[in-house]
Amino acid sequence: MSFMQRLKDKFTKNEEQEVSKTYKEGMEKTRQSFAGKINDLIARYRSIDEDFFEELEEVLITADVGVMTVMELIDELKMEVKRQNVKDPTEVRDVISEKLVEMYYDGDTEEVDDINLENDGLSVILVVGVNGVGKTTSIGKLAHQLKQEGKQVMLAAGDTFRAGAIEQLEVWGERTGVEVIKQSEGSDPAAVIFDGIKAAKARKADVLICDTAGRLQNKVNLMNELAKVNRVIEREVPGAPHEVLLVLDATTGQNALSQAKTFSESTNVSGIVLTKLDGTAKGGIVLAIRHELNIPVKFVGLGEQIEDLQKFDASAFVYGLFADIIDEEIDE
């Protein structure tokens, strides 16, 4: 399969080997249970029948690939198997990985969804999400990364609700050597963001990252508050926010889709940060979100260290997910 060969070449032969290694290691758990399960399934069956498809469905669903996406995939697979007259389960493996990769790319191939920043002048990044997904931590890691790239970064402590949130951001500010603009707990988040923008302009910062309080997407008032913050940013900096990053917890199930949908209604979500991907057998939700909502994943959190936020590289992710399958295929 030439596509797989290309993926493999890309990640084993050139300078991107480093990236691929991080993904391979960070996603060890994900891969083991995903690719491993598919391989195991294929090894156990001698012919392709209903039971085979049902078990395949199980593997996909337990990886939190959306139910609708799975049903669609299985139907397509059934058709493809019939069309190509595949009888041997080992042959079906090619079809499976082909279909999954196809589904992920959905047309645009091998594009790295880079973060959108202004070349000169201030760029504003707004970070949103439900409670406990890791917004503040992701901001800390992102600030570190941008600073490594030589950008002057500032943070705005827009989570004025949760106790300790401002202090948490300040700790990250100290760790990364980045200034944090804040007000006291309980103040109006839009005002904090406004201050942040003023300060960032005055200090000629390159990037301002705005933290916000976690909110469940069905709380209308809180979503309105977020829309207000967004409006303030739009008004103060032309073309801003340059990125609205929705932080999703990889262990979240089908509700992630509802989160992505609702947050997109009050802000213009431009990308997703998928956190805690290291600890879960999942990541399948990436497929569902990409497939059903067409929002690109821009970063993934693969660990607790400050460097553990990786730019999301679709090819690397797919490679990470299917590394075992791909390797085997090419060895054969």
């Binding site: 939190d64 300790g164 917890d249 199930g253 089908q254 805690k276």
Partner: protein
Amino acid sequence: MAFEGLADRLQSTIKKITGKGKVSEQDVKEMAREVRLALLEADVNFRVVKDLINRIKERAVGQEVMDSLTPGQQVIKVVKDELTNLMGKEQSKIAVSDRPPTVIMMVGLQGAGKTTTTVKLANHLRKNHNRNPMLVACDVYRPAAINQLETLGKQLNMPVFSMGTETNPVEIAEKAIEKAKEDHNDYVIIDTAGRLHIDNDLMDELDNIKKMASPDEIFLVVDSMTGQDAVNVAESFNEQLDISGVVLTKLDGDTRGGAALSIKAVTDKPIKFAGMGEKLDEFEPFHPDRMASRILGMGDVLTLIEKAQTDVNEKQAKELEEKMRTMSFTFDDFLDQMDQVKNMGPLDELMAMIPGANKMKGLKNAQIDEHQIGQIEAIIKSMTKHERQNPNVMNASRKKRIAKGSGTNVSQVNRLLKQFNEMKKMMKQMTNMQKGKKGKGFNLPFM
């Protein structure tokens, strides 16, 4: 979106079998598929779903359809009974040690809501059980976690024991228990750091805290939005620590919360409490029966029927039905309706009980705000009698007067008029749906 409830899913299947006296195997098979999809979409674990479906199939086939229920309701009842069975009974008791202090340990993944839950639980103990708890900050890893606990403790005026981030959590817990004895705190609640269930070092740390503190309760705090992995998380924590119960958080969100079912099924430990909001008193005993309805994404049909029967006076209901049919529904009736509905309980709860309500045009995304209801009342009451009976006479100057009288503005009056018209349209749809069926009273669209 994919988030329709079971009731909606079953609608088409049920149509086919309405009128049959017995539920056949084929019917059950078709419905079982829908039930299965609904459960999977609710994040119930795949294996749990499989077992459940098999049991439901066994029970449902060949059952006589009860007089009071349609075949569709019958199957739903079986499903709900099974789910309720699996969820178990309400159990919100908390252990009391013979030799105080009683020690409670809170464990879970990052971001599940342990710290908030710790404080909520302490508040619950003090308020409802008249206890005097002490909070212990053992999360030495996440930046400002100790600070968060201290701030929340201060808000409630509750003692928080902390030793900074440089001390080993086991030692912190040990010192805290000593301190609690001195200060006569009868409960000690230990907030631990979030950790992945696959992180062996950190899991060992929990084990060490457990050995030292020998807690009377270990609560696993789980985010109700957790997906298929909930099973693995619960299994690992339970194997390693033998947890005594579960607290489900963020249940005020719109997740179906299938994780609850999975956790109960694999650990057989009770879910004792639920976090229902960001405020510190939004913490309730967990109601397994309500959860069963929620996972199915169906309102509690039976409860709604009961409620409607007791609260809506039958004569009034008949009149209303007549009005709906003849389309002579006026603002006066609207006001009556609102009063009656208000008597039945909080509105969004009520809405949640109407199966299929989320699918109806106009009701979809309807945000129910009790404050708004007050405004609507004011607007209607500012109308003249004539206007209430004949909304069509409304013109700009009338609207202006009404807005002034009700302390609202013209656009709000307009919105209400528009909603009223939409409601009329909807009623027409509903009455049309009924036509063709043996006209028997007011039916909910899904039955």
